[in-house]
């Protein structure tokens, strides 16, 4: 086996994306263990304080430190995004690999369903699943995973179709390599560059859907912090404390932008 050299093609998208997402992940992980202030400590005397060195993002209507709450909300958002991508990505690989490699009637049926779901606006579909299963974090993750699974199935499937007739695969088959080994040892590693891009895009869509649903009050339920919920709380104080809405909103933009730059960077580096 030839050892691969790990020479990454650096480009400005990759660097900018890594810096932005790195900061987000760092703050979110830090937020699990430590926040500058307690996320629940209220203080009447410190209501609606504008951003300052003491309170980086200011304080909210209960005098709570917004920066600390954003850190906690980021954690929730990233956790949900990761769970959704992991769940839908893993099942996407499994179903996409099998249908793509073997084809046949099962493939036909699965693709019809995938097409039907894929054409659909994701938030609407998530709403349907949520209204059937009820609200809550676990149901949110399940519903978003169902919503995003088809796009993974489609990408993995098309890659497997592309590679199943490649020369090295026919040779492996001739040498008597087992089917499962061909699927997951010979083909799978070769689709990762494409797969990672769709993971990033899926992650972004999951974050947008999660924050949208939490904003509507049917996503993450209080007392758990969530950027979307913070935004909807902040909307009422837009005149007196615009920073309250800006902080969680810009954080969402930052996260989404970071991951889309990262996916663009990976795509270009893979070329």
């Amino acid at each position: 086996m030839v050892k691969r050299r790990s020479s990454i093609q650096w480009n400005k998208y990759l660097i900018a994306g890594l810096c932005m997402t790195g900061l987000v992940v760092f703050l979110a992980v830090l937020g699990i263990f430590w926040t500058p202030y307690s996320t629940t400590a209220m203080s009447v005397s410190e209501r609606f304080e504008a951003p300052s060195l003491r309170h980086l993002f200011g304080t909210d209507n209960y005098g709570r430190d917004i920066f600390s709450r954003v850190m906690e909300g980021m954690g929730t958002t990233i956790l949900i995004g990761t769970l959704v991508v992991a769940l839908s990505g893993a099942s996407g690989i499994l179903i996409g690999a099998l249908t793509g490699y073997f084809g046949g009637i099962v493939d036909e049926v699965v693709m019809r369903i995938v097409d039907a779901i894929n054409g659909f606006p994701s938030i609407l579909l998530a709403l349907v699943v949520i209204s059937v299963m009820g609200t809550g974090q676990r149901n949110l993750v399940i519903s978003l995973s169902i919503v995003f699974m088809p796009s993974f199935i489609r990408i993995v499937r098309s890659e497997f179709i592309r590679l199943r007739d490649a020369d090295y695969i026919s040779r492996a088959r001739l040498m008597g390599v087992g089917r499962l080994r061909i699927l997951f040892v010979h083909i799978l590693p070769n689709i990762f560059s494409t797969f990672w891009v769709s993971v990033m895009i899926g992650f972004n869509n999951a974050i947008l859907a999660e924050s949208g649903m939490s904003y509507l009050g049917i996503g993450v339920q209080p007392p758990q912090a969530s950027l979307g919920k913070m935004l909807s709380d902040a909307q009422g104080y837009l005149t007196s404390a615009p920073w309250y809405a800006l902080a969680p909103g810009l954080t969402i933009v930052w996260i989404v932008l970071g991951f889309s730059l990262l996916s663009e960077g990976i795509r270009r580096a893979g070329k």
Partner: protein, 319 residues
């Protein structure tokens, strides 16, 4: 024609499958309707009576066909939550009726905004030889695609409503009272829906045009003496618009979904708000109909785009 017939059959079958799926989904929902209407302290006789009135004792297939038959005849069932008066529950049709124009107008204004802004912008971008403009448009569109519509709605409210005072947020004007004021008020939520889609469409059109510009026919057109204008608009743009039409079709579904969220931000009494409040209060007949309604619209739009695509590009049907 054969193609059209085939497409229509597929359309009808899809609608059937979707409505059946929606019906089944709402059958397996945990929680009893009768208990949710009457509360837990109703007598068993009253519960049995209501169960009979609502037709819950029939087999599922019968209930499906009664439901879908009613829907086709305009009888959308009655809400579990909204009362019309003391004795009657509100029919879903009436509940939706006056909310539909709001959502439809919002979607229409958004779509017009997208087309009117994105297409010239995309053409301008593809033609620009100016590196600064090119980079600036790249950054602006990248950022605007990352803003979720509800945050954009809040930003629009803040900027246009509170800083520039162009409109009064929360002071929704009914279309029955003042159609002009109504459309003006909708312009701002439409902006919140449209901006990310404008960015996407402009980017898409630009890339599509840049690809087309490299095609052989462009060189042919130039060498036979076509003016640059004619090459650009008569040849390149026409071909580059093909994928954009499909893209716009997909965006319509996104606009409908976007309006669900944005209606909430601007307190618009449209079907999006009704959907969210019905999900929260578990008013299932309303949710069921709204989901069915939106799904039908989306599927129908895809159908139209498919047809339109063939009209615009005759090459496809010859394949």
């Amino acid at each position: 024609m054969k193609y059209l017939g085939k497409k229509i059959i597929t359309l009808i079958m899809t609608l059937f499958v979707v409505s059946a799926a929606a019906f089944i989904a709402f059958q397996i929902i945990p929680g009893d309707v009768v208990t949710s209407i009457l509360g837990t302290e109703a007598t068993p006789e009253r519960e049995a009576q209501l169960r009979e009135e609502l037709g819950l004792n029939d087999p599922p297939a019968v209930r499906y066909f009664r439901w879908i038959g009613g829907v086709l005849q305009g009888d959308l069932g009655v809400s579990y939550r909204y009362a019309k008066n003391m004795n009657e529950m509100m029919p879903v049709a009436e509940l939706i009726g006056d909310k539909l124009p709001v959502t439809l107008s919002l979607a229409a204004i958004s779509l017009v905004l997208i087309i009117v802004v994105a297409i010239p912008l995309g053409v301008l971008w593809a033609r620009s030889r100016n590196k600064v403009l090119d980079a600036a448009l790249g950054v602006i569109t990248q950022v605007s695609m990352a803003i979720p519509s509800f945050f954009l709605g809040i930003l629009v409210t803040y900027l246009f409503g509170m800083v520039l005072k162009c409109f009064a947020p929360g002071n929704y004007v009914s279309y029955e009272k003042d159609p002009g004021g109504f459309l003006f008020y909708l312009l701002f939520p439409a902006l919140a829906i449209a901006i990310p889609k404008i960015a996407m469409t402009a980017r898409f059109l630009r890339n599509s045009m840049l690809t087309e510009l490299k095609a052989d026919y462009v060189r042919t057109a130039r060498s036979k003496g076509c003016s640059e204008r004619r090459v650009m608009y008569g040849h390149v743009l026409r071909n580059a618009m093909m994928p954009v039409i499909t893209f716009l079709g997909m965006i319509i579904a996104e606009i409908v979904a976007g309006s669900i969220v944005v209606e909430q931000v601007f307190s618009l009494p449209g079907i999006g708000r009704l959907l969210i409040s019905s999900i929260s209060t578990r008013d299932l007949p309303v949710v069921e109909i709204l989901i069915l309604y939106i799904t039908f619209v989306v599927i129908f739009v895809y159908f139209l785009v498919d047809i339109l695509y063939r009209v615009v590009d005759p090459r496809i049907s010859s394949k």
